[in-house]
């Protein structure tokens, strides 16, 4: 049963992911006073990329070809095990952090393997941020684990702990939002629509990829942002209708609800990105330290509340 639910979740997430990124671009354009492209455009750009011819650099090794599969594959695992539409399946917090890291590592390999300074620079930055973000992820999720009494992210959501019951959880949620922004390379860490190599992180690494491989890497980043958006909304409103049985009506409602969650969170993200600026790379440690301290404060307060 859980496996069937997992597959349903996977299919829904995979089919909604391009829409999700289309939404944030659309909202952002509106906030900037532009008309913006159709939110469904990402489906067409992925389809176009899949049909294009690939250019593979002669400097690359076999690892270059492995990268898109592993990056997309590891993201698919996350879409399968995390509590996004159902309650998820064996999603221990350390395992989730580890699988996130596998994707990051292979992306870095792809960046370096392109043998250009752009790829190397992006890879170096990505690796720095992922490495320094690791303690924040663990500490923040440990905070949730202490509050809910379980280390499984699925059970954390199932524990139905809301901000109203345990207001101190808001610190951990804040840290989780900061993690989500930097994991997805959004503002203020990275500018996702930049064309200037000095400010790029994610785009610099995928610069040498083209055609189907680029489509896979882009798709992986779309899935990742969808995952984080849904995970955050499920943690903030845990009791809000997760799929528990397989019948047409509940699946239909869950799809509508998921789309609603995505629209709200993407609108908020677009709004947030419109009012802040990207920070300089060499001030990144301030952001990362801030996120860590927020997560740590969440954990400490959770522990103190627990002993009271």
């Amino acid at each position: 049963m859980t496996i069937i639910l997992g597959f349903i979740q996977l299919v829904i997430i995979l089919s909604l992911a391009p829409f999700c990124i289309g939404l944030v671009r659309f909202f952002k354009a509106r906030l900037q006073g532009r008309r913006g492209a159709n939110p469904f455009l990402s489906y067409f750009s992925l389809a176009t990329l899949m049909r294009k011819q690939m250019v593979i650099s002669t400097n690359t090794t076999w690892v270059f070809r492995l990268v898109p599969y592993v990056v997309l594959g590891s993201t698919v695992v996350l879409a399968f095990i995390l509590p996004l539409i159902t309650f998820g399946y064996s999603s221990n917090l350390f395992v989730v952090a580890g699988i996130l890291m596998i994707g990051a590592i292979f992306l870095v390999f792809g960046g370096i393997d392109s043998a250009s300074a752009f790829g190397g620079m992006g890879a170096s930055r990505e690796m720095t941020i992922s490495a320094l973000l690791e303690p924040t992820i663990i500490i923040t999720l440990a905070g949730f684990a202490v509050v809910t009494g379980t280390s499984d992210i699925g059970d954390m959501v199932a524990a139905q702990i809301t901000i109203i019951q345990t207001p101190h959880i808001i610190l951990s949620i804040g840290a989780l939002i900061m993690i989500a922004l930097s994991e997805n390379k959004r503002y203020p860490i990275d500018n996702p629509s930049t064309h200037l190599e000095l400010t790029m992180i994610h785009e610099a690494m995928v610069l040498e990829y083209s055609g189907p491989y680029l489509a896979m890497l882009e798709f992986a980043s779309y899935i990742k942002i969808t995952i984080f958006a849904l995970l955050l909304s499920n943690i903030i409103w845990p009791s809000l209708f997760l799929l528990e049985s397989v019948d047409f009506i509940s699946i239909a409602t869950i799809i509508i609800l998921t789309i609603a969650k995505l629209i709200i969170s993407m609108a908020l993200l677009a709004f947030f990105e419109s009012i802040i600026t990207k920070i300089r790379l060499y001030r990144m440690q301030e952001y990362l330290t801030g996120a860590f301290l927020l997560g740590l404060a969440g954990l400490v307060i959770a522990l103190i509340t627990n002993t009271l």
């Binding site: 221990n92 190397g120 690796m127 490495a131």
Partner: protein, 663 residues
């Protein structure tokens, strides 16, 4: 019957490794060294099998050798020593196999006969340490191990090696002296008493004396294991030895030091006061942070691996510290789990680190350098070998389906489970441990990924790389064996825990066994198959939705200019953000040096960057000690004025004062 079999096999293993050293002395021809190494490998294999048999026989301990002259049993195998005996022998078996293929490549640099002789003796010493039950045989094995490894550091007779070797000599002997002192206080001079007896003898020691033995043991075993602040020799000495010896030193010898400390902590000392366990934890954590930071910024391949060993040993010692801490605050579950984590991580580290050092040997034999700056693109020329190293790297960085993850997972998961139910000061400690472990974990990923990517990926930065070839069968086989063993350990950890009698940490749900702690479980097979499954899914979907071979080759885009390997990102540049963020700890000096191309034209200059990688700890702590020692010896030299009457009067004075003291 079974007991006799185990005793026989262990004797076979010991005599095998000792006779291997004798055989190596018989002649200079390489065939003799080959036989010696083969015997060594078989002896180690037998040793590993004997410890498996020991676990299957489910006995508490088996006496291997006893003698009435030496007052009781001298050699004995029990649970802890069997675990380490297995880990150590497995790695030795693979490394000895590797040496058969590796040493002939360096027949001009090293004296193969002495390398083989010393290596066999080194291994014999380590085996002896593990099955000793009395301080005297323990120390005998320890000294054999230290001395042979010292000469192995010297083998290429370069100035750097001799310098590193001398540093090692000083540290290892101060350490051995401290261990000797610690044992003699604990046993009250009875060096032939077994550890169990010492535990009874020392039970009436005052807390102050116990503290002295604790401090001495931390220094003694810590200096061997490369713990901060006694680590200075490790990143110098490990890289200077031949690569197969580095594999043994990092993969095995450090584990023997850990074993020694565990032996004292678990079977000799009473439960330690909580404050003392804090010391072990913090020394371990500082070592881990220090090691990993230097592993990130270092450019020398073998030094990166040595620093990474420091990091892992730091993590292991803080796990031991947490176990003892749990014992002192009476948390038996955390104690068991932490010790389990120590054992699993010891095994995982022994395998991947020896594999990586052997890999480094192969890489250096092709690239003729240790610097990451001249490598790159090796995966073009040795694709299969690079695949093996990729596996080892993924194991080393503690990611889910691999073996490096298991120990850390067990440990951190149990910390999260325990943290709720203890007092607030101790909660603070455990939060520190949790945060530092994940910080170190993140940076170790940085270090390992950087190492792999700059060696194997992109274009090659030197001419030597373009002549690189896949290594011969024996070399690939031994590296592959470490990969296979790591994968088995990673995926089969729950079953392995059952065999070694720690089945209480596993849960049997249906067909699959997963690791389970109070709340949280992890099934490596499930996660592994999910990852592999989804990669296959992605693979097949990609071929359904797009054409198979619709691609062309072209050089990398570089703003329309031609591109060469000089334009790639370098190793130094790759770690620049970390160097920048943590410069307060490194305090490296970066200098930009201008040289004029035409002497009288100040506008046309070529610039290069010089990065002074000084070690702040060495400058602040060891240099003053060295200066003080020099100063004292200059003062003492005044006495040595060459007048014989003066010397004789000194002797008389010394005698008289001794008489007074003894009265």
């Amino acid at each position: 019957m079974n007991t006799q079999m185990i005793v026989f096999l262990i004797w076979f293993s010991l005599i095998g490794s000792f006779s291997a050293s004798i055989i190596a002395l018989l002649g200079r021809r390489f065939i003799i060294q080959k036989i010696s190494l083969a015997i060594l490998s078989i002896a180690a294999l037998v040793g590993a099998i004997s410890s498996i048999l020991f676990f299957l026989s489910a006995q508490a301990n088996i006496i291997i050798g006893s003698s009435s002259i030496l007052f009781g049993s001298v050699f004995e195998i029990d649970y802890l020593s069997a675990l380490f005996f297995f880990i150590v022998n497995t790695v030795i078996c693979i490394v000895a196999l590797f040496s058969i293929g590796y040493l002939p490549l360096y027949s001009k640099t090293y004296n193969l006969q002495s390398v083989t002789f010393l290596m066999a003796l080194f291994i014999f010493g380590m085996q002896l340490v593990l099955i000793s039950t009395t301080p005297i045989s323990f120390l005998a094995g320890w000294e054999i191990m230290s001395f042979t490894s010292l000469f192995l550091v010297f083998t290429d007779k370069q100035t750097e090696s001799i310098k590193a070797g001398l540093l090692y000599l000083i540290m290892t002997h101060l350490g051995a002296g401290a261990i000797l002192a610690s044992f003699s206080i604990l046993s009250k001079g009875l060096f032939f008493a077994s550890f169990d007896e010492i535990s009874i003898i020392s039970s009436d020691l005052s807390i102050g004396l116990l503290g002295v033995t604790f401090a001495l043991a931390v220094f003694g075993f810590g200096s061997k294991a490369g713990l901060w602040p006694f680590h200075v020799w490790l990143p110098e000495a490990h890289p200077q030895a031949p690569s197969n010896i580095s594999a043994l030193m990092s993969g095995v010898m450090l584990k023997v030091a850990l074993y020694g400390f565990l032996r004292l902590a678990l079977s000799v000392w009473p439960t330690l006061p909580t404050g003392w366990t804090y010391i072990i934890i913090f020394i371990g954590l500082i070592t881990a942070v220090y090691g990993v930071l230097y592993a990130v910024v270092e450019n020398d391949l073998k030094k990166i691996l040595a620093y990474s060993s420091m990091e892992n040993l730091g993590l292991l010692f803080s796990m031991v510290g947490v176990a003892l801490f749990a014992q002192s605050i009476n948390q038996p579950l955390l104690f068991t789990t932490a010790i389990t984590a120590v054992i699993i991580h010891t095994f995982a580290h022994a395998l991947f680190k020896s594999g990586l050092f052997m890999g480094a040997g192969v890489i250096m034999s092709q690239a003729h350098s240790r610097s990451l700056e001249v490598m790159g693109g090796l995966a073009h020329y040795m694709p299969k070998f690079s695949g093996l190293i990729l596996f080892l790297i993924l194991t080393a960085v503690a990611l889910p389906p691999f073996s490096g993850f298991i120990g850390e997972w067990i440990f951190l998961q149990e910390i999260i489970n325990t943290i709720i139910s203890i007092s607030q000061l101790n909660q603070g400690l455990l939060i520190t441990v949790l945060a530092t472990f994940s910080f170190v974990g993140g940076l170790s990923i940085f270090a390992m990924v950087r190492m792999f990517a700059l060696i194997f990926l992109a274009g090659s930065r030197s001419k030597e790389i373009t002549h690189a070839k896949e290594p011969n069968f024996l070399l690939s086989l031994s590296v592959a064996l470490t990969v296979i063993a790591s994968v088995i350990l990673g995926l089969g950890a729950p079953s392995i825990l059952k065999i070694i009698g720690l089945g209480s940490l596993t849960i049997n749900n249906g067909l699959k066994t997963s690791l389970a702690l109070t709340d949280g479980n992890y099934n490596p097979l499930l996660i592994g198959s999910l990852i592999i499954g989804s990669i296959i899914l992605v693979f097949s979907l990609r071929y359904i939705f797009s054409k198979r071979k619709f691609e062309r080759a072209y050089h990398t885009w570089d703003c329309g200019q031609p591109i060469n390997s000089q334009m790639e990102y370098t190793a130094t540049a790759f770690s620049a953000p970390i160097r920048f963020f943590f410069n307060i700890l490194f305090s490296f000096n970066k200098k930009i040096i201008d040289t004029r191309i035409i002497p009288n034209n100040k506008w046309m200059i070529s610039r290069h960057i010089e990065l002074n990688r000084k070690h702040i700890w060495f400058e602040l702590f060891y240099r003053p000690i060295a200066r003080l020692t020099l100063l004292l010896s200059t003062l003492v030299r005044r006495i040595q004025n060459g007048i014989i009457q003066f010397y004789i009067s000194l002797i008389v004075l010394a005698l008289i004062s001794t008489v007074f003291l003894s009265i």
